[in-house]
Structures are given as C-alpha cells and as structure tokens.
Amino acid sequence: MAGLNDLLGQGRRVERHAPWPRALVDAAMWERVAAEIAEGAWTLLGLWGDTGAVHMALLDEPAGAVGVITLDCPAGRFPSVARHHPPALRLERAAADLFGLQPDGLPDPRPWLDHGRWGVRHPLGDRAPASPDGQAYPFLASEGESLHQIPVGPVHAGIIEPGHFRFTANGETMVRLEERLGYVHKGIEGLMAGAGLDHAVRLAGRTSGDSSVAYALAAARAAEAALAIAPPPRAVWLRALMAELERLANHFGDVGAVCNDAAFALMHAHCGILRERVLRAADACFGHRLMRDRIVPGGVAADLDEAGTREIRALVAEARRHFPALVRLYDGTASLQDRTVGTGTLRPALARLYGAGGHVGRASGRAFDARRALAYPPYDALAFEVPVLQEGDVNARVWIRIREVEQSLSLVEQIVAGLPAGALRVAVTPADEPREGMAVVEAFRGDVLAWLRLAADGTVARCHLRDASWFQWPLLEAVIEGNIVADFPLCNKSFNCSYSGHDL
C-alpha cells in the first residue's frame, strides 16, 4: 500500500500548509479516496466546509502521517463521502448546514446543526434569510410490535448539557437510540472568522469547557505551524503539564460519575475530592481552576514557580496515596461490576471504522493516542504507556481512565522534574501572506483537530475545530442496542461525549 504522501502527490500540492501536506484533488479522486477510507486504507480525521470548497483530513495510522485533500466545489456540490463511509455523515450534514455545500448522494439529508432557528441559512457560506420559527425534525422510524418511544431532552434531569435522545424500546430493552444534537451550537467558527489570533484561541478554549487546555493548545499549535513559530521549550512543557492536569481532573470526575450512575455514591464522593484537589492545584499554580486562557499563541501566559512545583508534587503524592484504594474498591464491588461489565459493548471493528479516539477507542482495541502516534513535543521526550483493552464495555472504558490516571501522574512528575528554564512566550507576527496550519492534540476524551487559515494580516480567515465526540456520539447509538433503558446513563457517562465541543 502506497503511503499518504504518494496519495497526495496525485493531487495538486497546496503551498504554505503546515506541518502536514494539503492537496487539491478532482471529484473522481475524492470519491476514490472515500472508498479507500471505507475499506480501511485511511482513517477519516475530519471533513469540513470552506468557502467554495470542502476539505478532508486523513490519517495513515501505521505511519503516523496526516494529510488533507481538498475538492473545489464551484457549483456548491461534492460527492458524499458518507455514501461510502458512514462516519462522515454528520460532518457532511454540518457542512451542508453551515456552508450550503450539498453532498451528492448523502444518505441522510436532514439538517443537523441547523434547527431552523437562526434566522439565516448557510451562515458561513452564501447567507440567506430564513424563518427563525424552527423546523420539524422527522426521527427515523422503528417499526415492530410492542415498541414504545421515550423522548428525552434537550433539558435533561441532571446537570448535563442539552441534547435530545429518542429511545425506542421493547419493554425494557432498547432497540434504537437516535440522537439529535446541535442545541448548544454557538457559531464559534463563525465568530472566529475575522477575529484576531489571540481572541480566536480564547474562543477555542471555550469550545468545550472540560477541554479548555486541549482546545487552546490545538488552536495555538495550528497557528504556530502556519506561521512557522516555535514556542519556547519551557512553554511547551508547561502546556503539557496543564494538559495532563486537565486529563487527571476529568478522569477522576468521570470514574466517580460512572459509578454514581450505578448508584455507588461512595466512589463519586472520593473521586470528587481528588478532582477538586487537581483543580485547586491548577488554580494555585496557574491562577485558574480550568487553566483557561493560559495557553496563548506563541507560548503560555502563566509560569510555574517554586510554590507551584511543591503544590504539584503534593498533588501527585496525595493522588498516589488515595487512588489505589479507590481502584480496589471499584474492582472489588460485585454490585458495581455487575452494572459495568458487559454493558454497552463497542466492537473493535466499529471503533476502528469510526476512528474512535480516547477511552472509547482504546477500550475497544484502537491504540491511537495523538501524544504517541503524532508525538508532538514534549511527549516525544517523555515516557508513558498507552493502555489499550479489547472488551469495549463500560468497565473497559473505566479501566482505560484508571490506567491513564497512573500514566498522567507519572507524566506530571516527569514534566516537573525536567521543566526547562527560559522564556514563556515568543512574539507572534503576521506572515504578510495567507498561511494555513493544523494540529491534532490529545484531549482527555480523544483527539481534537484544529485547522486554520490565517490572512496576510494575521487574523483568522477560517478555523475549524473537530472534537473527538463527532466520531463517538454515533457509536453510543450503536452500543445501546439490546441494553436496558436503565443502563443508558451508565453507557453515556462511560463515553462522556461533549455536546458543546460537537455543536460548537
């Protein structure tokens, strides 16, 4: 099999796109690549609209290579990738909503992010006024005897983000779940267009609050790639420290929350304490509990001092003291295991097909972790393992998190021990010509892709952010089938997809 570079060589190479290549292709080649993705030759990393064009990011997993192909669509149409490869479906529906680009042969032409409430159609493309009164949304049919539907949301019973779930059940057993998302669409990509780079990175950090660090990192790295700027080593390491603290806080929270959804409140209480300790340490070190706006283009906006270093070391010691007992508690409580083992099983083949990232993929045999596969600094200089399991159930997704907590604690120690001295930020100056850049970073729930084009004056012309949830949400629909309604919260929590990161 030829590599991604050969493939892109068949198109017309686009200049000033970094660090990975981008090539213009024709419709025939676009379709051929779509078919190759469906056969498993490449992993679909993303698909997004642009003015008069559509882009597709590809990953060659074994080689750790990334590339982008672009199809110009002067007539506003392009051959649907989803027709060959279902994971592209919602991405294409979103591109149609935002840019008015029509995917020919799209298996599901219903709008996705556009609920008919914006008062405008195709807000990022050929804008056209529209009624803001809302459109009816036909859900997919489930037919058979004794089926009943349970509509849930967008406002849920707990403190979670809004989205609609339509369950079809036979007695207790679910036969179909259909998600409807887009409720928290804020038009972030629209707000970024024309914004200054600093502001755009601040917006990126508000795409999914639980991944503030990862998003700011992705957007900053994409811009730095475009402008060929290298942030100082100390900043690179501090960014990783923040990213690992963010991962720890979320994993502690999630392990507790999954157990809580199985009515095991003790784990929730103890994990909540550990999570709070991480956030307090982050606050003490960097001045914000979620470390928001601490990653900026060109570096970081906060340093770690002596007191901060002590704070971090104390945190690691505390977590090492208390977490193992919680892991034993999780593993040794039969009533809890009864709920998590064998529940919501995601088959490895499906995880691979969807290129599922994060704990969702790694609990189902897909070993991808952007920190390892793409080895962006400083992870190329740090020692860590990428835990992988095959079972694919709720239990496996909990275990991946547990193992990753251990890895992150070690990473935090290594970073604090090896933190280089020096400057925190370099100046970011416009290139006086349009530039494009992209980055893929590992957030706690999986890989975040950021792609942007900077105008000659350094402002953002177009920025696209793709959350890991895009490829995880559809899999939640798949794993639910055959489970009982009462296990949905457990499955859902074990995935913990982002609504805001997906809807942006």
Binding site: I160, E161, V184
Partner: protein
C-alpha cells in the same frame, strides 16, 4: 470498602466553612422585586439547572458544589430533576437560538414564585458569543433574571455566595412560613 468508610469517620471532614452571602448578590436581590416571593420561599431551595448553550465549564463548577469541600446540601439547597419541583432556575450559557424555546418552556413549567439565577459571563450578556448568528444573548433576553453570578466560569465559592444570598431574608423584612 469498610476501611474507606472507617477512615471517613475518623478523619476530620474536608467540608469548609460557609462563606458569607455575596455582597453584590445581596445588593442585586435587594434592588429586585422579589421581596415577597423571597419570604415565601424560606430557607430551603430546590434548584433546577438549565444549560442554555454553555461551553460546559459552568456546569463543571456547579457539579463541584456537591463535593465534600462545598457540600451544598448542608445549606438546604439541592438540585432537582424537574422544573416542576424547582424554586430556582440556575441558567448557564449564552442562550442559543436552538435552546431558546426549551428555556422558555422550562421557565413556564416552573411554578411561581420562582427565581432565575444567570450563572457565568455568558449568561449575563452572551459573553464572547454575543455577536453570533446562533446566539440570542444573555438569559435576561429570554426570561426575567433575579440574580447574576459573574465569572468564566465562576468559582464554586462564588456560586455558593450567590446562592446563599437567596436564603437571606430581605433587609427589614421577616421570613414567613411556607
């Protein structure tokens, strides 16, 4: 498990001292019109949280209120699953166009008297999402708001200070039973 429970009994509690009700929150409430309502709601409040478009950062800090350090329930404040059981709607996010109707309907489903608390900078005026085609604005653009708690996201202690102000009897007034 017994070891963990035993440790929990022997260790000093992590729960921290209650903050005083926030000054700004008290002032905003005093200036509002909810005096009578406040008397009737008394010292225990049921809160229904609504994410009307947030980035989920505000939700994370609301969640934190339940942990051992803040222990929200000791104040008689608790989160409920249905707006029909709620005295307070705690709303986050810029209100997106796609969530506007859901927010209105949740508000209508909440019995009077009720309070609306707008949590976070987005909930005040749409924050950094204000100028988007997809955003209506702050919470007050859709339903009447009694109290704003600023921050991006507000720290749990700031949320607590704001919520505790709801429990204070209005200056000069006395609390009446239910």
């Amino acid at each position: 498990m017994s070891m963990l429970l035993l440790e929990g009994l022997l260790r000093l509690p992590l729960t921290e001292r209650a903050p005083a009700p926030g000054e700004a929150a008290l002032a905003e409430l005093a200036a509002g019109v909810g005096r009578t309502a406040r008397r009737r709601l008394g010292r225990s409040l049921s809160i229904r949280e609504i994410d009307a478009g947030s980035c989920n950062g505000c939700e994370l800090e609301i969640h934190a209120l339940g942990n051992a350090f803040y222990d929200l329930e000791r104040f008689g404040l608790r989160f409920v699953a249905s707006p029909r059981h709620a005295d307070v709607l705690l709303v986050t996010g810029p209100v997106t166009a796609n969530m506007r109707e859901a927010l209105e309907r949740t508000w209508r489903a909440t019995p009077d008297p009720k309070w609306v608390v707008a949590l976070g900078d987005c909930a005040r005026d749409g924050g950094c999402f204000r100028d988007s085609y997809a955003v209506v604005g702050g919470v007050a653009a859709v339903v009447p708001v009694d109290l704003h708690i600023p921050g991006c996201p507000p720290r749990p202690i700031a949320i607590l200070e704001g919520l505790l102000a709801l429990l204070e009897p209005p200056a000069g007034g006395s609390r009446q039973p239910g």
